[in-house]
């Protein structure tokens, strides 16, 4: 628990530290606040442990003559009282010499070279569509000093994290009737899918020429961070090839020809994979391996199993593993159980979960397996539409929030309409839910909600309401029963007999937010 603790030797000044993670290492960030007996003096969001301890030290040195060892002991005791086991010597080092460890690391690392990893794919039992990225870090020597070694491990993990992109690289090629080759490079957005944890990429190649185009090739690179669950196309005479590239699966779609105004539509449905970094520590080198593991649904939960094998004929000094779990998931249980110091589950504020493992003296061909039982992190879907007239005036703003309750009960959908100008016509919101889902309750009970089945898969629900007064809001809360995922799609809005005719702008993002949605009092955010 965060506490306000007096600076030793002062009864007037206090410091409070709120770390963003429960894991003590040089990446530990957090908020440091200074108080006197009257009130807060200042506070600083510190980027890492060095910034954090120096901020405490600088403030301490403002109040009293500098005293590094006392500050280090004070911080160690402070973190211990929060349940975080820190290291006095590392804190002291960071206070005394900011660039010392960094400098030592620069001196140790000689070079980094790419290596082949094909022989590891069967050993690690990875999926056939995924490759392993390998790099050899040559060192002058393995640091004897534990702190420098820990920092080296942390630095290599940080440097080799795979950033998950929100777009993919793509090339479209085709031949015009006059024989001229066309080559168009582009980025395609990775959009959200129809429910939690699903993503999709959807695009179309349209023949905008007056004559047919031939030898059409669409070349997409899907990063290994994503698992392709399914693809859809609108035409039959399309061929697909795939090869494993560096860091991405390369897909090539071939279509023999396309008549003017015809189009090829391709849609990928994706899920995120666990991103794994493995550090194999040998006598004078460290091998860095990036691999990827899918998360699979089993019964009511999700599971992932990862395997590592020491492929060498000699033992390794140590192996460090960092598994970054996709942000939509939370770890329920690990096998083996993560018990410090060998296994630590790091939960970084507003980021996600990483499982870290360390093993010493790994024999040749020895295997290390980890499995994770996962469930979704607390999530919600927030879709909103700003409705404008032909002159660009804002008329109404409409909102849909989906918040799952428990799996057995289903979920709640909140719809809100806010008038931004004087509106006199009836407003309706039309939305979709799976056909098997049932509206089990609504608040207010007299809100006009209509259901209509539109096929085997989905049914529509419509909320029809008189408009709220200007700058006022009205809302309806639906309790929906269903044992499958809700649909993450935006609704349609009609104002009187006016219908939506054009999407002027669309933004999609997924990020952590601090919220307090209480659907009994829906306007607390």
């Amino acid at each position: 628990m965060v506490e306000r603790k007096a600076i030793w030797g002062s009864t007037r000044y206090f410091i409070e530290i709120e770390p963003n993670t429960n894991l003590f290492n040089t990446s530990m960030s957090g908020l440091v606040s200074f108080y006197d007996t009257r009130d807060l003096i200042n506070e600083k969001d510190c980027e890492n442990l060095h910034d954090l301890v120096r901020t405490v030290f600088d403030f301490w040195s403002t109040i009293l003559p500098p005293h590094e060892t006392r500050v280090a002991r004070w911080i160690e005791e402070y973190l211990f009282n929060m349940g975080i086991n820190s290291e006095y010597s590392l804190i002291l080092r960071l206070i005394r010499a900011e660039e010392m460890i960094e400098q030592q690391l620069e001196d140790i690392i000689i070079e980094s070279v790419k290596i082949s990893t094909i022989h590891l794919e069967d050993l690690f039992e990875i999926e056939k569509e995924v490759g392993i990225i390998g790099k050899l870090i040559k060192l002058k020597h393995i640091p004897d000093d534990d702190y420098v070694m820990n920092e080296l491990v942390q630095t290599l993990i940080d440097q080799n994290q795979i950033d998950v992109p929100n777009e993919i690289q793509s090339v479209h090629q085709y031949v015009l009737q006059n024989g001229e080759k066309q080559n168009v490079e582009m980025s395609k957005d990775i959009s959200i899918g129809d429910s939690i944890g699903n993503y999709c990429i959807s695009f179309a190649l349209v023949n905008r020429h007056d004559n047919p185009i031939t030898n059409i090739e669409i070349f997409d690179q899907i990063p290994y961070s994503f698992n392709i669950i399914m693809t859809e196309t609108n035409i039959d005479n399309i061929e697909k090839e795939q090869i494993k590239g560096e860091g991405a699966l390369h897909l090539r779609w071939k279509v023999p020809d396309l008549a003017p105004k015809d189009r090829v539509e391709i849609k990928y449905f994706l899920k995120r994979r666990i991103s794994r970094i493995i550090l194999e520590v040998d006598e004078k080198e460290i091998t860095v391996l990036n691999s990827f593991e899918s998360v699979n649904p089993t019964d009511l939960e999700y599971r992932a199993t990862t395997k590592y094998v020491n492929s060498r004929k000699t033992p390794l000094k140590a192996v460090f593993i960092a598994d970054t779990i996709p942000p939509e998931f939370n770890i329920l249980k690990t096998t083996p159980e993560a018990i410090a110091p060998q296994g630590i589950i790091e939960r970084a504020k507003m980021k996600g979960v990483t499982a870290r493992w360390s093993h010493k003296n790994i024999n040749a061909e020895e295997a290390i397996e980890k499995s994770y039982r996962l469930d979704f992190f607390r999530y919600l879907f927030r879709g909103k539409k700003l409705i404008q007239d032909n002159e660009g005036n804002d008329i109404v703003k409409c909102l849909k929030i989906i918040q799952p309750t428990t799996r057995e009960i289903g979920y709640k959908i909140l719809y809100v309409i806010k008038s931004l100008s004087q509106v006199d016509e009836i407003i309706s919101i039309t939305d979709k839910i799976p056909a098997s889902h049932v509206i089990a309750g609504q608040n207010p009970s007299d809100a006009q909600i209509m259901e209509e089945t539109i096929g085997d898969e989905n049914k529509t629900i419509s909320w029809i309401s008189n408009p709220p007064k200007r700058n006022e809001e009205i809302s309806v809360l639906l309790q929906v029963s269903g044992d499958t995922q809700p649909i993450f799609e935006l609704f349609e809005v009609n104002v009187g007999d006016k219908k939506e005719v054009e999407v002027l702008k669309k933004d999609i993002n997924i990020e952590r937010e601090l919220l307090s949605y209480n659907f009994d009092q829906p306007f607390i955010v």
């Binding site: 959200i192 404008q388 955010v525």
Partner: protein, 201 residues
């Protein structure tokens, strides 16, 4: 060796470092030497060295290091109970329009010691509404604060649960700073957000 000699040697060596190495190296040297002096309770000597550093970085036009030097000087004079000299440096920092985290901390400490608070006023509070948009709310308090952090703390204690955007006017520096505030009771969500602007006819 007298304290005076020690100071002169430090200044001489610091000048040599400045001539041959970077400004960062010069700063590191000064900081290490003053920490050692202060460990021996030689606050006055430390202040002399920081004055030397202040004059040097002022001549070189480095505002960041100048702000740090002035914050060091204000805090050293407060430690020595030399409030007149602390005031002189404090006013210089205001007149030079300097700002940094450390300077802001030290200024506040000085202001509370000397009872000359800077007026900071909350001029607008916006609350994140159910749509996820910030909407100005009535009720910005007619209260002055010494520090922005204090204004933030005040609001954390006064505001209902939620996320807010606050604009604070610093009367002395005549500028407005914006800050995000989330009350502690909020929970972390993975939010999938889709926004569209659509035209109807």
């Amino acid at each position: 060796m007298s304290s005076d000699d020690a100071v002169q040697i430090i200044i001489k060596e610091a000048n040599e470092i400045l001539a041959k190495q970077t400004l960062d190296d010069f700063f590191t040297y000064i900081e290490n030497k003053t920490i050692n002096l202060e460990k021996e309770d030689k606050m006055l000597e430390s202040a002399i060295i920081w004055h030397f550093f202040e004059e040097t970085v002022e001549r070189l036009g480095d505002a960041e290091f100048l702000a740090y030097a002035l914050s060091k000087l204000i805090s050293r004079y407060i430690l020595m109970e030399e409030l007149d000299k602390a005031k002189e440096i404090y006013e210089k920092s205001i007149n030079e329009n300097l700002d940094s985290f450390h300077l802001s901390t030290v200024r506040t400490i000085y202001e509370r010691r000397s009872d000359t608070p800077t007026k900071r006023e909350i001029v607008e509070i916006s609350k994140k509404d159910v749509f996820g948009d910030f909407v100005p709310i009535p009720g910005a308090p007619n209260v002055y604060f010494e520090t922005s952090a204090q204004a933030r703390n005040y609001l954390l204690n006064q505001l209902p649960e939620g996320t807010f955007l606050m604009k604070v006017l610093n009367h002395k520096l005549n500028n407005i700073e914006e800050m995000d505030i989330s009350t502690e009771t909020l929970e972390e969500f993975e939010v999938i957000s889709v926004q569209e602007i659509v035209r109807i006819e």
